[in-house]
Every structure is written in structure tokens, then in C-alpha cells.
Amino acid sequence: MMKKIISTLKFIPILILSVKLAVAATLPNDLVWQTNTTSLEWGSADAQKGGLLRLNISSFPPTLRTVGPDSNNSFRSFLLDNQMSLVDMHPNSGEVIPMLASHWAYDKDGKTVYYKIKKNARWSDGLPVTADDFLFALEFNRSKDIVAPWYNKHFSEEITDVVKFDSHTLAIVGARIKPKKDLHYYYSLQPRAKHFHKLNQQWVSAFNWKIEPNTGPYKITKIRKGKSIKFKRKFDWWAQDEQFIRNRFNVDNVLIKVVRDPNTAFKYFERGELDVFNLTLPKLWHEKANGPMFQKGFIHKLSFYNQVEQGASGLFLNLDNQLLQDINVRKAIAHGLNFDKIIQQLLRNDYQRLPRFHTGYGKYSNDKVNPLGFDLKQAGAYLDAAGWNNKDQRGIRVKDKNRLSFTISYGNKLHEPQIIVLAEEAKKAGIELKPQYLESTSFYKNVIEKKHDIAWLGWSTGFRPAYWQHFHSDNAHKPQTNNVTNLSDAIIDRLINQYRESSKEQERILLAQELESKIAAQVVFIPSTMVPFTRSGFWRWLKLPENIATKSSQSLFNPFHPTQGGLFWIDAKSKIDSLSAKRSGKGFKTSTIINSDFKVIAP
């Protein structure tokens, strides 16, 4: 009996929704439908179809779901990249380009976008993609059954509604007014196959290993648990001749192998059991990637400068710490950090100093804002001004029995060398920085609860600068929010509010620039380094287009990404030649290319 009541109750919200739809589902008459057929394509006409690409990941995914517990793993991007959005951004010009939708139109209210879904869009099981799949996607993302609180919150608070007009026309209604182009990003929604999912309390466990239908170029065909996952190209893929997609996604099969240890993975690569290997780490690029296979020209090396949003990584100073409340102390710390030494002597001049919190956001970035450099005299002057005039036995500054000492917490062992060098150098300024490694989850907890003095971390990037979550007083002095510096400043608050409420692009750009310099002046965030390029080693049978990659490419051999991925192909003849040359001990010309087409020259 009880069960029945619950199940009837469950139907009520759906009923309400459908009633609402029946009333609201008429399109406004004054819509101006837009599309884009003029932007340049970036796939190469020389591309050949066929072949197998072998990649590696460090651990087998704990689930094939893309939401819910354990889903945020490194494998998820392979699945998500095979799910297309309604529209996307051109990887070179940033213009809106059609993907699942052929046309789009903006409502006068400034927060609604209408879309026409392409009639030929199909799920991997052959069924058409319809507006109902988007309605279902909203219901799905709001459902408690997927056990994903962030999704529940985001899709309830940010996207107010999805409205269906007919089977292939819909509108997405956002919560706030945004500039037109930004609406696509802030209120994007990927469809979920309505005919596939059954939402109930068992969803999380029942759909752990089910292969979800997708709209992208590849689908999973073989899973060897703990060992590998194989993707196969859809030979009758609906989008393969579409503009902006043709001549891409050329490889027939993509095998993703699990190799736990990076050193072992590199050995596999050198033996030709993996086709590509990321060589971003300086040690790999400069030292390890010089073996006989590289010398004989079997493996090529390619470094490609890109222009992507740079994650804000560096030191976050917690203003809840008494000593850090003094801006002179913060400035002294910034002047006491020798990033030049790290970049020159540890990172081999490959990396660059990150200039500010938001870098690589086009016009939104304020190029005039640069970090305070290593300068012991300045650091000393600021400390003197703040009353830290004396030094203790070890040369650390003291004031009223307080030592100028801070813990610097970090959650990734990879960064330890840099932190240790910084701490050693900071001693020269009379500042003690005590490295504190915390296992990544407890590090995250420590920071998000704001118990740190100084935290070494990086934030992922977004489409536009995001100030409210990181610097608004709404999020200061509260656990579980992203304002980890606890900055609360009335002027900055006011600017952030204006920035969030503005729907005019030019105004937002000016506000973003002003905010960037105001925030930098507070010295609560000290930027560390950035990697303005991507570089890989690859076996010579892999071919890339003439332009190599796009301005926003984060990887040269991404097999699936809707805009950056699938540019390469495998030259079957070259593979046969190479393998027979390898057997007979012959070689080819060594190849190391550094492409700087998109390199930003530092001011």
C-alpha cells in the first residue's frame, strides 16, 4: 500500500510539467533563426579513414556512468566527448557553430534560447534525437536518483526550464540574463536518451556498466574489465558528412589500455604498443624521449603552442589567518617567492609564469595585470613597514613573539619540488613556509573548509571569468564555498554584482578587467606557472593536418572531442613501411617540431 502511494506521488510533478507544456508550447512569432555555414572548417581533406589508435589511461574507470558516485574520473571525458551539444564554439574563431541543432534564436528576455534539432540526428541505437530527450535530460539531472547533488543544484538553479514546441524544436530558459553568445555556454544541456534510462533508486547500481547511447562519432564495443576499453567508429554515423565534422574522426578503432605506472606506459610507447604519449613534463620531453626510436625517426616529437583559458593555479592566502590579514605581509610573501628560479632551474624554461587569476579569456583578460616578482629588498621593505623588524636565530622575522611562519598545504606530490624550492628561497626574505602534504581528498576538505594558511592549488577553467564564487563576500568565511581566500571587500563585491547582472558584452569586459586589477591588488592569490602548449610524441604513421591543431587544442591526439578532436589519421602504408623498417633495423629522419603559430609573446 505504502509503495503505491509513493509511486503515485512521483507522477504528480511530471503531470504538472506536461500540463504546463500543453499551455506554453507556442513559439513567439518574432524569432530570428540563425545558423552558421560560413566559418572555416578545420578538418583536413587529405585524411584517410581506418586504422587503430592505442592510448593509455592510468586506472580502469570505476563506472561507465557520467554522473553519480565515482563518475568524476579521468575516463569520463572519453564518454562525454562522444555526447554532442546543441551548438558549440568554433575552436579557432570562437563563433557559434551548429552541432545537434541546425538553427538557434534568442528571446527578447535575454535568457532564453530556441533551438531546432537536426532531423537526421540519431542516437547510437538508431533512434532519432528529439526534444523529449532534452526534457528528460533536465528531469534526469534534477533527479535525486542519480545521486549527484551538484547536478541537482545546477540544473535546478541555473536552468529554469526546458520547453518543447514540437518533436524537434525546443527552448532552454536560463535563470539570469547573459550576453547572447554566453547563453549557449551557461545554459548548455546535453540530451539523455529517454528510451534508455529508467530513473529509480537502483539507477546508480543498475547503470554502472551499461553502455549509454550517444550522439558522437564512436561507441564502446568491447570492455575488458581492468584491462582495456575499445571504441569503434560508427560507419553510418548521422553527422559524418556534416559541415565542421567531415574529414574528422578518421580512425576506425580506439583502444584505451590501462597501464598503471607512467614509467611502464612510456616503455610500452617506445616499444610501439601505444601510438601516442603526452610529453608535457620537461623530464620526458628533454631526457626520456630521446631513445633509439626517437633518434631513428620512428617516433616524432611535436610541441604546439595553444591559446586556452589557463587554470588559476598558485598560492591562495587565507585572510582568516591573523598574520595574513596585513596586506604588507601578503605583498612581502609575493615578493619572496622565487618563481623565476623554479621555471629556469627546475622546469627548464618550458613553463611560464602565470600572470593573473584569469588568463587566456580573450578580451576578458586584463593583460596589464602582472604578478609581483621575486625581490628581497621589496619584501624586506614591506615587512619592515608591517613591524616585522626583528629576526630570530634562524633568520625568520619575528614580531611580538610571533614568528612569520605559515604552512603551505598541497595535495599533489608532483608539485612538491617546486614548493620546497620556494620555501628554501622564501627563508631569504625571513619568511618560513612549511610544506604540508595532505592526501588529495583531505587536502580538498581542508581548503574548502578554509582551515589552511596558504594553499597551493589550481582551479579548472570556465568559458568566462568567474568572480563571484572565488572573490565575493557571499562566499567568504563559510565552509564548502570556493572563496578560499576569504576575501570580502565592498568595492569588489559591488563590481562582481554588476558583472553578474550585466547582459552587455562590452560592459562585462570592462568590469572583468577592472575586477582583475582590483583583485590582484589585494594579493590574496599569488599565481604560479602555466603551460601554454601541448606536446606529444607519436609514431610516424600518425598524420596531422597542415595546421596541426586548433587554437584551443589541449591535446594533439584527442580522438573524440566535438570541436578539437579527431583531426589526425593513420597512414596505412606508412605503418607497413615503418614496421618493416623497424624489423630490418633501418631508420628515418629524426623529427622534432615546435609550432608557435598561436604562441602569445609575453609583454
Partner: protein, 354 residues
């Protein structure tokens, strides 16, 4: 007759005399003691600070004084003097020939990063750069980190041993001596406690708190005190029924007094025999935890951390070989000592035939 002649040949000996005669164990012991003693004065031999500086006729003792800034010696900076540079500078261009710097044997400290443009760490061993065992991946001297790491490891093992044995011996003796409900109760407690997977607990604990020397001793002692209880229980169980214990009891000695004055001294051989093996255990446990990065926080010098670096950088063999050789060597010394002690207290030597 025959037996007594043997007895005459073997003069009655104390355990120390017996131990001295077992050359392998004895020399291992002497050598290990020397190593520990040297490591206690490591600051004098392995340090970036100079032992002595003479500048403008005045003597300075940087190791024993507080930080001496560069301007003290006519340099421009206001942070700690780089004595290697100072020495080099004065060697090249010395206005005052009485100025000199006396550097320690290896002029680096354990956390100091020695980087140079164009030479990326790790650097191979070189007498010229005075990195006799090369540098690690951050550019710190491997030899110096080995020495300071040894000091931490050996004192960690000894401290751990004292704490563990104190509780282990106490509880064990009481179990054996008192018997009955107390014995039964603690037997069960220890059985349950021993079944808790120690490594997981340490991992969980050190992910919650940043472990330090004493907190690691505490955590490891918490799960390590049980091993001694069983041996001490059976030893005191046996002794409890001896006449001298009964006599002490009759004279009104308290339980504590009986255990500390009578039972423990009479079962000391059990304790001493286990000590070297516990020391070896302590060293390996700390090294293992550091290897898995659940041990002492960076930048503390540690063998486990060096081992980790060595494994990750097999193409820089000086890191892995230095630490593996040192670790095996120290463990070998400790094991030789342990074998010798066991030999000394071997009950077979105490049996006399009449």
C-alpha cells in the same frame, strides 16, 4: 669428569664477554654505535654552514651561532650567508689574506636545493661539485639526506622500541604473573587488536593529520606493543612459580616490586634478544611509510622518500643504489648484532650435566 674439564676450559663469563667473543656481532655493534654517534654530530660534518670563518681578524662559528647574514662578511645580502660562495670568492680574490672559511666535509644541508642554470637535477655523483653521491630530483645532496635520514630512522626505531617495550613488557608480565581473569581479558583484547590492519589505520590517520615524529611513534606503538606481550607473558608465567618469587611474595613485596625487581631481571634475555629485530622492524616500517608518502612530511630527509625517488627515476641509478646499499647495510649490521645476542643468551649454553 669429562664434563668438568670442559667447564674449566670455559671460564665463567658474563654475557658481555661472551658477546665480545662473537666477532661478527661485536664488530657490527661497534660499527653501528660509531654510525649513530657520527650521525649525532652530523651538523659538524654535513652542513651548509661553515664550521669557522675568520673575517677581518675576527672569528665566527656559524654552526654554533644564530644565522649570520651576508652583510656580516661584506656581502650585499641580508639573508643567511652562502659559505660555499664566500669561500670561492675569497679564494679567487682575497684582499685580506687572513680571511678564511672552514667548511664541513660535505658543505650542504639536508633540505638545501643546489640548482644551477643548464644543469637539471638529479645530478650524478661528482667530487668536483662535492655531491659525492649525486643529487636527488630537486637538487638536494643524496649523501647528506642519507645521513640525516639515518639519524631520524634509527632514533625513530629506538624511541618506538622503548615505548612499545614499556607497555608490552608491563602488560605481558602482569598477564603472566596475575593470570586468571586479567590474563584472559587481555589475551582477547590483544587478539582483537592484532587483527586490525595496521597499515590501513596508519594511512587513514596520516591522511587526517599530518604526521610528525612523535605522532608516528604514537600511532605505530599503538599497534605494535602487542608482539612483546606474548613472550613476556610466558616468561613471567614460568618465573611466577619459582621459589624466589614465592619468597618475595611471602615477605610482602607488592606485585609491581616483584615484577620489576625479580621477574623482569630474570627474563631480561628474552627482551634483549628481541631488541635488534625490533630496531630493524622500526627502520623498515618508517621507510615503508615514507615510501608510500604516509610518513614524515616533506622536506624531512628520509630513506623511504629517497627510495621512492629512486624507483621513479631508475635512469638516475645513483639515487636508488645509494639508498638500497645503505638500507641493506644497516639492516645487516642490526641482524648480525641480533644473531650474536641470541647466541649469547642461547639456553643450550647454560645446561650443565652432572
Amino acid at each position: 669428569m669429562h664434563v668438568s674439564s670442559i667447564q674449566r676450559q670455559e671460564r665463567p663469563q658474563g654475557p658481555w664477554q661472551k658477546f665480545k667473543r662473537l666477532k661478527r656481532g661485536y664488530f657490527s655493534f661497534v660499527f653501528l654505535c660509531l654510525l649513530i654517534l657520527t650521525s649525532c654530530f652530523a651538523e659538524l660534518l654535513f652542513n651548509s654552514k661553515a664550521i669557522m670563518v675568520q673575517y677581518q681578524g675576527e672569528l665566527y662559528w656559524p654552526i654554533f651561532s644564530s644565522t649570520l647574514e651576508g652583510k656580516q662578511f661584506g656581502l650585499e645580502y641580508e639573508y643567511e650567508t652562502n659559505y660555499r660562495q664566500l669561500k670561492k670568492m675569497w679564494a679567487e680574490d682575497n684582499n685580506d689574506p687572513s680571511n678564511f672559511v672552514l667548511l664541513p666535509l660535505v658543505p650542504f644541508n639536508a633540505t638545501e636545493v643546489d640548482l644551477e642554470d643548464g644543469f637539471y637535477p638529479p645530478q650524478p655523483p661528482s667530487a668536483l661539485s662535492q655531491h659525492y653521491l649525486g643529487t636527488d630530483t630537486i637538487g638536494r645532496d643524496v649523501l647528506v639526506r642519507l645521513v640525516y635520514g639515518f639519524r631520524i630512522a634509527i632514533f625513530f626505531a629506538i624511541t618506538l622500541l622503548i615505548v612499545e617495550y614499556f607497555f608490552g613488557v608491563l602488560v605481558g608480565c602482569f598477564m603472566g604473573f596475575l593470570g586468571g581473569a586479567f590474563d584472559l581479558f587481555f589475551q582477547r583484547i590483544i587478539e582483537i587488536w592484532s587483527n586490525i590492519p595496521f597499515l590501513y589505520i596508519v594511512m587513514i590517520m596520516s591522511s587526517l593529520i599530518t604526521p610528525g615524529f612523535w605522532s608516528l611513534v604514537f600511532i605505530m606503538a599503538l599497534f605494535g606493543w602487542m608482539s612483546m606481550t606474548w613472550y613476556m607473558r610466558s616468561a613471567s608465567y614460568k618465573e611466577a612459580n619459582r621459589d624466589y618469587v614465592l619468597a618475595a611474595k611471602m615477605m610482602g613485596a607488592s606485585n609491581f616490586r616483584i615484577i620489576y625487581k625479580h621477574i623482569i631481571p630474570n627474563s631480561i634475555s628474552t627482551i634483549i634478544t628481541f631488541i635488534p629485530f625490533s630496531v630493524a622492524g622500526g627502520i623498515t616500517a618508517l621507510t615503508a611509510l615514507d615510501f608510500l608518502s604516509f610518513g614524515l612530511p616533506a622536506p624531512a630527509p628520509s630513506w623511504g622518500e629517497l627510495l621512492r625517488q629512486g624507483v621513479d627515476n631508475l635512469d638516475s641509478p645513483w639515487i636508488i643504489s645509494s639508498v638500497v646499499i645503505s638500507l641493506s647495510f644497516v639492516l645487516m649490521l642490526v641482524t648480525f648484532i641480533g644473531e650474536a645476542i641470541r647466541e649469547v643468551f642461547d639456553p643450550k649454553h647454560k645446561i650443565y650435566y652432572e
